[in-house]
Amino acid sequence: MAESSIHENPFQALSMLLGVAVLCALLVSVSAVKLQPRYVANLEAYRLAQLESILSALSGTAHAVAADEIESRVVELGSGRYADGIDAATFDARKAAVDPNSSTPIPPASDIAGIKRRAKHAGVFLLRDPGGRIQLIILPVRGSGYQSSLYGFLALSGDTSTVVALRFYEQGDTPGMGGRIQDPSWEALWPGKQVYDESGTVRIGVARGKVSPASVDAQHMVDGISGATRTSQGVHGLLRFWLGDSGFGPFLERVRRGEA
C-alpha cells in the first residue's frame, strides 16, 4: 500500500495526472515514430520471403524460379482486365482497400470473407513459360480470422484449376490454435486441391473437422484446424470470396480464355 499521498488537492492531482499522461504519450509516440520504418521494412521482407517460398514450392515441378522472373500486374477486379494506368511497383493494396475513392463496400450478405470493403484493383503476380503462356498465378487474399485479419498469397496453376500453394504472411490469431494456418504441416495440405467442380462452381474450402478421403470433397477441401473453427472458416470464406465473382473470378475467366 502507499506510504502516503500528500497531494489530495484536486488541482495538484490533476496536474500530476496530466504530467504522467503527457510523458507516457511522448515516450510511446517517439518510439512509434522511430521504430515504424524498421517494422514496415521487416513486414515487407517477410511478405517477399513468403512470395519466394511459394515460388520455390513450384521449383520441384518446373525450373527454379527467381523473384525477378515474376511479372507483376494490377488487375481491375470488376472487369478482370489489366489496369495499365496503375504502376504495379507503387500500387499500395492496403491503402486502396480503405480509401473510399478506390474501393467499394461489399454488401453484408455476400461478404463471406468479412472484409467489409474491397479495393477496385488488386496486384497479381504471373509467371509465364517461354511461349508466353501463363504457368503460375499468384493472387493476394485477405479475410477475417478469429481476432485478426489474415493476409496471404494463393498460387494457382496456369489453367486456374489447381492450387499450388496457400501461404499466410500476416495474421494475429491465437498461437497454437488459429495461428497454425502458418504451420508447414497445414500449408502442405493445399497443393493439388482442385478449385472447381465439373460444372465450374468454386468448391475449394476448409471443412468443419476432417474431410473423409472417400467423399467428393476430398479433392477440393482440406481439414479444418481443431480448436480453431473460426479461423478455419475464415480461410474458407476468404478463398470462396476471392475466387468468386466479386473477387478474382472475372480475371481468372480471362486467364482461362487465354486473354490475360
Binding site: 500500500m1 502507499a2 502516503s4 499521498s5 504519450a25 515516450l27 521504430l35 498461437p175
Partner: protein
C-alpha cells in the same frame, strides 16, 4: 539494507513465486511456452516491464493521488508494454510474429499491476526495481521450465536444436502432440506447484470451507 535488497530479488524465485504461489500470469504461461525461444523472449519482455514499472511507479509514488493510483499505474505499464512490443517488432520480427498478441497482453498480466500496487507504491526505487526483476525472474524460471518440457517432448528439441530425432525425420521419437496444445501447460504448471508445495508445506492454501461429510482436513 543490503540484505533487504537481496530478499526483494530472491524471494520471488521460489518462496513467493508469482506463478506457482500466487497463481498469476497463467494465461501467457500457457500460450507462449510451446518452445523455449518464445518463452525466453516473453520472459525477458515481462522482466523488463516489471523492473521499469517498479522503478517508475516507486519514483512518483508520493505524488500519485490515492483515488486514481491504479489508473496511473496502468498508464505507465501500458506505455512500457507498447514500447517493448514495438522494440520486438523492429528488432526481433520473427519472434514477435509468434508471440503475437501476448506481448500486448502483458498490460493485463496481474503480476505487473500486482507488484506496482503491492510493492512499488510502498517501497524505495532500488528495492522496487529489484523486486520487479526478482518477480520477472521467478516468472521466467517457470516459463523456461515449462517451455523446456514442452519443446523437448513436443518437438524433440531444445532451443531449436534437435536432440531426439522424430519419426517424421526418420528417427525413433514420436512427439507428444498434447505438449503443443495449451492444456499440457496446465498439467506441467500443476505438477510444478505440487512439487513445490510438497517440499514447502507452508505454501499450501488453507481450505476456505470444508465439504460436508468430509471427515479429514485436506489442502486444496
Amino acid at each position: 539494507m543490503t540484505n533487504r535488497y537481496w530478499d526483494a530479488l530472491t524471494t520471488p524465485l521460489i518462496g513467493q513465486n508469482p506463478i506457482t504461489l500466487q497463481i498469476l500470469g497463467i494465461c501467457s504461461a500457457l500460450a507462449v511456452t510451446t518452445t523455449l525461444q518464445t518463452a525466453l523472449v516473453m520472459s525477458a519482455a515481462v522482466t523488463c516491464v516489471l523492473a521499469l514499472s517498479g522503478a517508475s511507479v516507486s519514483t512518483i509514488r508520493r505524488f500519485i493521488p490515492r483515488s486514481v493510483r491504479i489508473i496511473v499505474q496502468i498508464t505507465i505499464i501500458a506505455s512500457l508494454v507498447i514500447i517493448v512490443d514495438q522494440m520486438l517488432k523492429a528488432f526481433a520480427f520473427e519472434i514477435s510474429l509468434r508471440l503475437s498478441v501476448f506481448v500486448g497482453l502483458i498490460v493485463t498480466n496481474c503480476i505487473v499491476l500486482g507488484r506496482a500496487e503491492g510493492f512499488a507504491m510502498g517501497h524505495g526505487v532500488i528495492a522496487s526495481t529489484l523486486d520487479g526483476i526478482g518477480n520477472g525472474l521467478g516468472y521466467s524460471l517457470i516459463l523456461l521450465l515449462v517451455g523446456a518440457i514442452r519443446e523437448f517432448f513436443g518437438h524433440g528439441s531444445l532451443f531449436g536444436f534437435q536432440i531426439l530425432w522424430t519419426t517424421a525425420q526418420g528417427g525413433g521419437f514420436d512427439p507428444l502432440q498434447l505438449m503443443l496444445l495449451p492444456p499440457s501447460a496446465f498439467f506441467i504448471i500443476g505438477g510444478i506447484i505440487w512439487l513445490i508445495r510438497a517440499r514447502r508445506p507452508e505454501q499450501v492454501d488453507r481450505s476456505e470451507f470444508r465439504i460436508r461429510g468430509e471427515s479429514r482436513e485436506e489442502g486444496r
